[in-house]
């Protein structure tokens, strides 16, 4: 069985790798201490089994799992977490396997046995990902060739609805998102993004100015691109306060 391990804590990673490598039928393909590297690798290289830490900077383990599952639904995922009360409860309800740190070897054995027999369910991970509180600094988007791309929040200018699709706008590109707008509003670095309109969230860094239109609505202008997007009248005051302070 091809296994990939991701944990940003180097000691925990080493320990888990050491234990896993003692099983004959387990082949450790890769071990990552960096969630972004792991994501890049996993998007290209499917694996059979994935051991994932949840609390990781930049890309949360649950989001990573969700994206991988949507691409490779056969991947079996086991979360490894030190402490998260809410997560543990959520896992119990959703019956996704998880291991609490610190763990013993026999616990890993149980887990491997259980995973070999089980079928992953991407619905449960989806619902976990939506209900779970975490922050993301990198999200996945699809380019025109339907390939998954990683997009740093710093590059995003705005995310908006284009018909029924979610559109992620960067300086040079447009990507399609695979999660609803509310998801991005909640999960992207909160201090940086602002819901300017029913169908738009904008990166505050990228705003050049906003000016009123005749209809009492406002238009938002950006620094690097020529797009304008509407700003709800109810949000104007909030935004003004933000820039005035």
């Amino acid at each position: 069985m091809k296994v990939v391990v991701v944990d940003n804590e180097i000691n925990a990673l080493d320990y888990l790798v050491k234990i896993l490598s003692s099983y004959e039928d387990v082949v450790i393909e890769k071990a990552f201490a960096d969630s972004v590297e792991a994501m890049v690798y996993l998007l290209k290289n499917p694996c059979e089994m994935l051991f994932l830490d949840i609390e990781m900077p930049i890309i949360n383990g649950i989001y990573l799992a969700e994206q991988i599952i949507s691409l490779y639904p056969q991947t079996k995922i086991c979360f490894v977490t030190a402490y998260n009360d809410f997560a543990v409860k959520a896992f119990e309800i959703n019956a996704v396997d998880y291991i609490l740190k610190p763990f013993t070897k026999s616990r890993i054995s149980d887990c491997i046995k259980k995973m070999e027999g089980s079928k992953p369910n991407d619905c449960t991970i989806n619902s976990l990902s939506n209900s779970f509180k975490y922050e993301l600094e990198i999200i996945c988007g699809y380019n025109d060739e339907e390939e998954i791309v990683l997009i740093n929040y710093n590059e995003i200018i705005y995310i908006g609805m284009d018909g029924r699709k979610v559109l992620i706008r960067t300086k040079n590109n447009k990507y399609a998102g695979n999660k609803p707008l509310n998801f991005y509003e909640e999960k992207l670095k909160k201090s940086s993004f602002f819901r300017a309109h029913k169908s738009y969230i904008v990166n505050l860094q990228k705003i050049e100015k906003f000016s009123p239109k005749i209809s009492y609505n406002y238009d938002l202008y950006f620094k690097d691109i020529r797009d304008t997007i509407p700003l709800s009248r109810s949000k104007v005051k909030e935004l003004k306060d933000f820039f005035d302070s």
């Binding site: 804590e9 998260n84 610190p102 505050l204």
Partner: protein
Amino acid sequence: MQSIGKLVHVYVDGGGCMRDNRKVTQIALFIILTVITLVYFKVITDTNNKKFYTAELGYIDLSNEDINKNIIFLSGEWEFYPKEFKLSGFDKQSYIQVPKPWNDYLYNDLNLGHYSYGTYRLKIKVPQKGLYCFRIITISSAYKFFVNGKELYANGLVGTSAKNEVACWKEGIIPFYTESEDVEIVIQVSNFHYSRGGITRSIILGDPQAINNSASGDIIKSGIMIGIFAGIGFYLLLLYRIRERKYTYLYLGLFCISSVILEAVLNCNFIYGLFNDIPFDLISKLEFSSFICQLIALQWFIKSTYPKEYNDSWFRLINIINFIYLSLSVLTPNDIVNYNDIIYISILIANYIMGTLMLIKSFLKKKKYSLLLLVGSFMMVFTTIIDVLYVYTRFTQNNYTFGILFFLVCQIYVISEEVIDAFESSSEAKNMEIAYLQAQIAPHFFFNTLNNIYCLMDESLPKAKNLILSFCDFLRVKHKFDYRKNIFYSLKEEIDLIKAFVEIENVRCNGFIDLIIEIEEEYLTTLIPQLIIQPIIENSIKHGLKTRPIKITVSAIRNISSLTIAVSDDGEGMAKNMTGKVLDEKRFSSGVGLKNVNYRLMKCFKTKLNIVSELSQGTKVYFEIPMEV
């Protein structure tokens, strides 16, 4: 049009700012009190359209008076025939002062006493024939009113003993038409119900329209007062319901409600307007019991406001007196206790002396708000004195009501301040709670550290041991930390804690954190609040450390009168991270640690956190602590 600078300055909002609007409210209070007082003095000294005529030997000449313009108060020497009800045959030339009780009037070399009857007579000359109007506010307790021999009005039923008299204190508005310029007024009065008999308030004469206006003016005045008292009273009772055990509100609320009843009863028009055939005895009982309830509520109020200043035994004594009076006035017939002036005035004086003494005592001890309460109650006492002496003054009655109003405004101010303080302290308590939560070790940190120790045990026992030592150093300080106090220790201790903390974090983060301490030896002994820098470091690591190593520098720079402590890193930076100051507080959930530090800085030194940050350049967080020059 807005544009955004690249460099971001963030000032974390402090939770415990001083209230700066207190001055404003004080000025507002002062203005309100001044206005009330001015209006009051304007009203009582208003002699516009009011003329006082003093009769000589039972005769007043009004022939040169402009009756249409002025209201005439008829006082002075009236003819008086004690123990007689007569309409004609006025021969005996004996006179009595009006307005004044007849109690001291000598009849057969004896005082007439309060319970008696008699006939008053006054002759006046009006400017011309025509329509005029009398207004009789009260004559205790019953009277018949004749003009030129014709009975025009009767209040109650006059009698020669308590048995055949029916008392009534309704106000009389009596219009009449006279053919001649000479008018003879005869008033048959009997009093077997009240401690002061006779005409105790001037009889008023004027144009019917003017008299009506002045009468309805009085009713309106009283209505306004009743409205104000009732409003304040219910507000206070409501406050009491909300804030259980805050009896001050209850007592003051009851004081207001008693004042409402008293005012309604004192201005008889009011109660008669509502209940036309209410018995006189009941009104009297209401009057006296509401009066004593008011005093009881007042005493309890003062006691609950300044519990320590109010001597317990004195309080008990005055309560016993008050409650005895209350029970007597409710249970016994009116003429035993209620109609006895001396008892009720002495109880009033005793209560006032006691209350004022206690307030003075609290004032001397510089208790909060005691001056204001003292001024308020002084005004109440002052107006009451005027009222008690009203017989001898020209002031209109019911100054008392004004005093109560003045007193209440002062009280309401104090209570509003208290309510505001309560709100503030509750939000402060919330801040404290945040501080407390913050002071606890993040469970995630705790478990991860333990897990690291567990994982390291196989690989390298010395490393695991070291980690345990660092963790112990860290825990020792964290556990000593009490969020309720600002425990100070030396900067060195904090630095040691930070070192331990960074060591732990480094085990987890692959040694990515490079901690540099740039503090000169001499500043290491500076006292600082516990855990004031560590949360900043924690924040730096959490937000600054991503995939590349991070350098964190802690420095201390001496200024003239302060020491600037700065934590700078070369991490990711916070960019347009507006600390959630503008976008709602909830957005900035990760900044609780910094908010807590800021809050404690405010509390200890009245300084605050400054944050300068630039994206991918790093963040600098600094604050000042005052130092002696």
